[in-house]
C-alpha cells in the first residue's frame, strides 16, 4: 500500500467535468479503517490514479456502477 506514495507525474484532469471517456475502468475499490473508500482508476492513456470514492461518483459514475454491477451477488434471505 505504500507504493501509493510513489508520486507519478500523471495529473488527473480535474478541470474536466467528466472522466467517463478518459477512464478505461475502475481497477479496485478499497476500504480504509477510518471508513474512507478509495477507488483505483485505469485511464485510457495507460496511467493509473487513486481517488476518494466521492470524486469518482462525480467524475465517472458509470464506471464505478459498472464495477459494482460486475461484482453483484444475490444472497437468499
Amino acid at each position: 500500500f505504500l507504493n501509493l506514495r510513489k508520486k507519478s507525474n500523471f495529473n488527473p484532469p480535474f478541470n474536466e467535468s467528466s472522466w467517463e471517456d478518459l477512464v478505461d475502468r475502475v481497477e479496485t475499490v478499497q476500504k480504509l479503517k477510518n471508513g474512507k473508500i478509495l477507488v483505483k482508476l485505469h485511464w485510457k492513456n495507460g496511467q493509473q490514479s487513486t481517488h476518494d470514492n466521492v470524486v469518482v461518483h462525480q467524475k465517472c459514475p458509470l464506471h464505478i456502477i459498472r464495477f459494482y454491477e460486475d461484482h453483484l451477488s444475490f444472497q437468499e434471505e
Partner: protein, 91 residues
Amino acid sequence: MPKAVGFVKKVVIPKKPLDVLLPFYDSDETTVEKVLKEDENLLYVTFLAGLEASLRKKDIYLYKNGEICYQKYLKRKRRVIDDDSDYDADR
C-alpha cells in the same frame, strides 16, 4: 496513511421474490430507438422514452429492438466505409 480494511470482493444484495419489483415496470421504456455509435465494448443508444444510454454489446439482446437497431447501425457503417473507398478510388 490509515490501514486498509480490504478490497471490495462482492456487492451482496438480498435476493427477493420478483413481485417486490411491482407495482410499476414498463419494459417499453428501454425499447431501442437507434444505435448512435459503438466502441470496443459499449453501444451508445437512444431509447423510445427519450433517454440516451450506454449498453454493453453483449446485453443488447436484452432490449426490445436492440438487435435490429444494431444491425441497421452496422449496415449504415458499412455503407459509409464503401462510399469512402469509392470516393478514394475516383480521385
